[in-house]
């Protein structure tokens, strides 16, 4: 306080009060501080024990080997004296109601609202993460809600929401929680959708595919170096995981955020599209998105729309039946066109469907089938 004039100090205080959005909320559970973030520790589902109390997590290709008291790279699981426990269970930091189009999913029950759940933590380190406050924190360090798995399903049900979305951070990092919600949700006739970078091992993915109805997978680039330097990850396991989803026949849409100067090289994107066509087929929708400066990449410009349009056109020319542009609206690339008669069967503004000509999963004009999940079954 020394050297601070009364006026300057009060200006600061006044600024604090006047910037009332900043006067947020109050944690006064002094005596319950340890429980205030609803910490629940559950046994991780995929791990190996060693005789010397080390453990190896087997959820994602990092396969972290931990001494007692060490935490995985994803920040959500810890070695408790020879047991790997997840700290990301029943304690979401984000809980909202969103349109499924926000994942994004363009061919999955358009107009349906979902209960969106996210827990802190992530097994990537993307330099541009827009939700980095949550994804780059341990669940223990965030302000969370108390939402056991049963309550999550009940909440969705009470609000007449039939879709649960695991999104915003990285669902692989809260794998057990996601899995344990998705099973009863399925049993109640609800659907589960996952927005993920898909950096996950085959076994947990295989299990997840049994209760997941759609994946929106971020294929963030097509270059190992890009994955290493910009995302702190690796591409090869993601491609393998995509093939597993295809084999399991779960609905899949690919999402690629184009970062100017980093992964906007058209030749590389052409390679990526060719790989998708060859390994996943032409019926998988592919979304190209505009990057917005965030986190550790605040100094870049937004992706030029012409760059997105080049990728979008390239995908269509390569045979991808349904290519999209996102984070740019309004744009022709937001709409769904019939691959057969080329007419627009769904028009959108942002996440909202403004007009639809899909009838029983087919084009309302020429009756050609449009791939996707259009009706409840």
């Amino acid at each position: 306080m020394e050297g601070l004039s009364r006026r300057a100090f009060v200006r600061g205080v006044a600024g604090g009060i006047a910037a009332l959005p900043a006067l947020n909320l109050v944690d006064l559970f002094a005596q319950d501080a340890a429980k205030s973030n609803f910490l629940r520790e559950v046994d991780a589902r995929y791990y190996k024990k060693f005789s010397d109390k080390r453990v190896q997590c087997l959820v994602c290709p990092l396969n972290c080997i931990l001494n007692p008291d060490e935490t995985c790279f994803c920040r959500t699981r810890k070695n408790h004296d020879g047991r790997l426990m997840s700290h990301a269970y029943g304690n979401p930091c984000i809980l909202t109601i969103d349109p499924v189009e926000k994942l994004p999913l363009a061919h999955f029950l358009p107009g349906e609202q979902s209960l969106s759940i996210a827990v802190g933590g992530c097994n990537l380190r993307c330099l541009y993460c827009q939700n980095w406050n949550e994804s780059q924190s341990k669940p223990d360090d965030l302000k969370n809600l108390d939402l056991p798995t049963g309550k999550a399903v009940e909440s969705a049900s009470k609000k007449d929401l039939r879709v649960l979305a695991y999104t915003y951070t990285e669902p692989v990092a809260f794998y057990e929680y996601m899995r344990d919600i998705s099973i009863p949700a399925r049993a109640k006739g609800m659907k589960n959708v996952v927005a993920t970078a898909l950096y996950i091992n085959p076994d947990p993915l295989g299990e997840l595919c049994r209760t997941t109805d759609a994946f929106a997978v971020a294929l963030k680039g097509f270059d190992e170096k890009y994955y290493e330097k910009v995302l702190g990850s690796s591409l090869a396991p993601v491609l393998k995981a995509l093939e597993i989803i295809r084999e399991q026949k779960v609905w899949l849409e690919i999402v690629s955020l184009i970062v100017p100067g980093y992964n906007d090289d058209l030749a590389k994107n052409r390679e990526m599209i060719a790989w998708i066509v060859k390994n996943l087929g032409t019926k998988v929708p592919v979304h190209f998105g505009r990057f917005v400066p965030s986190y550790r990449m605040k100094d870049l410009v937004r992706t030029p729309v012409t760059t997105l349009e080049s990728c979008w056109k390239m995908a269509q020319d390569a045979g991808i039946e349904h290519a999209y542009i996102f984070n740019v609206s309004p744009h022709e690339g937001n709409n769904t066109r019939c691959a057969s008669c080329k007419k627009e069967v769904i028009q959108r503004l942002g996440f909202k469907t403004t007009e639809s000509h899909i009838e029983k999963g087919a084009c309302g004009f020429c009756k050609a089938k449009i791939p996707g999940v259009w009706e409840w079954k």
Partner: protein
């Protein structure tokens, strides 16, 4: 509220029209006084118009084909204008001659001859008829323009109002995968109200809502007294409902409540758009798409846009500061991050503040609690009941909103009830108290880092939990 909103919307549109007309007058008047300023005023008008058009064009994401079509139609509209001026030059000039004669009569104070009166009326009618035909032609061009644009783009144009700085939804719309909501600020307000003690929440809520109503009045005009009270009651009822929700319910519904708070402003915006459309139709001219995109200024702006090459230079990935990766073949680490964390901005989330200082879990808990309690104490103190019925927090915020920092300071200089302390002294005490706790739980380096940062503890967003006495 409805009548007030309607009349406010009407007033806004008519004011805009009058202001535009008045601007022309100003330029004429400055012509002889200061030619340089006259030129600047004209330039300002041009630049403002261009900024507005560019804001709209940026929000429309016109394709290359569309841009070319819009340029072609805008040029066609320009040619129509030129042709109309050429064809009706004699009509316009003869009207001007008639008006010169009329002015001569009026200056001399004499009677206006019937013949002159009839001539002025008939020339005026002829000019109006010429204008009507001209607009008829332009509207044909506008119809073709609307066919070039998508339904979603036409929606954007309908909602657009001329501006120098684009509104939030054009500048930074909600994105795929983004957790932050468009009504985040109002949601934070509601969370603040929710988390105060039962005994003290109402005066704070009143003060916060009074500030919001002051802001609303800047847009909609002053409330009649009874309407203001009714609106305040509505907001307090809403706040009572928000306080009764459990955490989960609040998380799910806070967006809806936030929209409900700002409903009058949204209603005004809808009505203003409606009135703008009516006004434009009454003028007999173009509607919004034509008004904005057949404007002659569009042509050079779009042509320049088409010329610009926008490819970004490739970045050498070996030269960047890379993302963290897992060391040592999968060996985990308890460290949150080994990288330097960017300094928090002026209103940081607590998680960022804690990460920047390198706080461990225990330090984070203590610091968050101390800062959160300090913030709540501050508001509760300022809003505490007084025998004279005054709400100091309300008065302070009102003066601040009105830009009267001195009087706002003076309010804090008043003595607190049943005390010899002034509010200012108490605020200083609260802040010192929080800093003492921080000094105790942080190490020397961390505390010094905070102290030299200039970060205002009262601006840190600490999170959400309910007060328990």
């Amino acid at each position: 509220m409805r009548v007030r909103t309607l009349s406010a919307a009407c007033g806004a549109v008519l004011f805009l029209a009058a202001a535009t007309a008045a601007a022309d007058e100003w330029e004429d008047r400055f012509e002889t006084a200061d030619p340089a300023t006259t030129r600047s005023l004209a330039s300002i008008q041009t630049l403002s118009e261009e900024a507005s058009i560019l804001n709209l064009v940026n929000g429309l994401y016109l394709s290359e084909v569309q841009s070319k079509q819009v340029i072609s139609l805008a040029k066609e509209a320009g040619e129509l204008r030129d042709r109309a001026i050429r064809e009706h030059a004699e009509t316009v000039q003869s009207f001007e001659r008639a008006l010169v004669e009329l002015k001569g009569c009026l200056v001399s104070g004499g009677t206006i001859p019937v013949e002159l009166e009839q001539r002025v009326h008939s020339r005026e009618a002829a000019v109006k008829e010429a204008k009507r035909k001209y607009y008829e032609g332009l509207r044909g061009v506008e119809r073709r323009l609307c066919k070039v644009l998508r339904a979603s783009q036409l929606d954007v144009i309908q909602q657009f109002n001329p501006c120098l700085i684009p509104p939030q939804e054009l500048k930074d719309p909600v994105r795929v995968g983004q957790a932050q909501s468009p009504t985040q600020d109002m949601e934070d307000h509601l969370a603040t109200i929710r988390n105060l003690p039962d005994r003290a929440w109402k005066p704070v809520a009143e003060a916060l809502f009074e500030m919001f109503l002051g802001f609303e009045e800047k847009i909609l005009g002053a409330f009649p007294r009874d309407e203001r009270r009714t609106e305040l009651e509505r907001l307090l009822t809403l706040a009572t409902e928000v306080r009764a929700l459990d955490e989960e319910e609040f998380e799910l519904r806070k967006g809806d409540f936030a929209l409900d708070v700002i409903r009058p402003i949204r209603e005004f915006q809808d009505k203003a758009q409606e009135f703008t459309s009516i006004h434009l139709r009454m003028e007999g001219g173009l509607s919004k798409p034509g008004k904005f995109l057949l404007n002659p200024r569009v042509v050079p702006l779009l042509e320049e846009r088409l010329k610009q090459a926008v490819a970004s230079a490739s970045v050498d990935l070996d030269g960047i500061d890379p993302a963290e990766s897992c060391d040592d073949c999968g060996r985990g680490s308890d460290a949150v991050s080994t990288r330097p964390v960017p300094k928090p901005g002026p209103e940081p989330k607590f998680a960022h503040f804690a990460e920047w200082l390198g706080l461990d879990t225990e330090q984070s808990e203590t610091a968050r609690e101390a800062i959160g309690r300090g913030q709540a104490d501050l508001m509760v103190t300022l809003a505490a009941e007084r025998e004279d019925g005054r709400n100091i927090l309300k008065e302070f915020l009102q003066k601040l909103l009105a830009g009267r920092e001195g009087p706002a300071l003076a309010v804090l200089g008043e003595t607190m009830p049943n005390s010899e302390q002034t509010y200012f002294e108490r605020v200083v005490e609260i802040k010192s108290g929080v800093e003492s706790i921080l000094e105790e739980c942080l190490d020397e380096e961390q505390f010094e880092k905070y102290r030299s940062s200039g970060i205002d503890l009262f601006k840190i967003k600490v999170g959400s939990l309910r007060w328990k006495d």
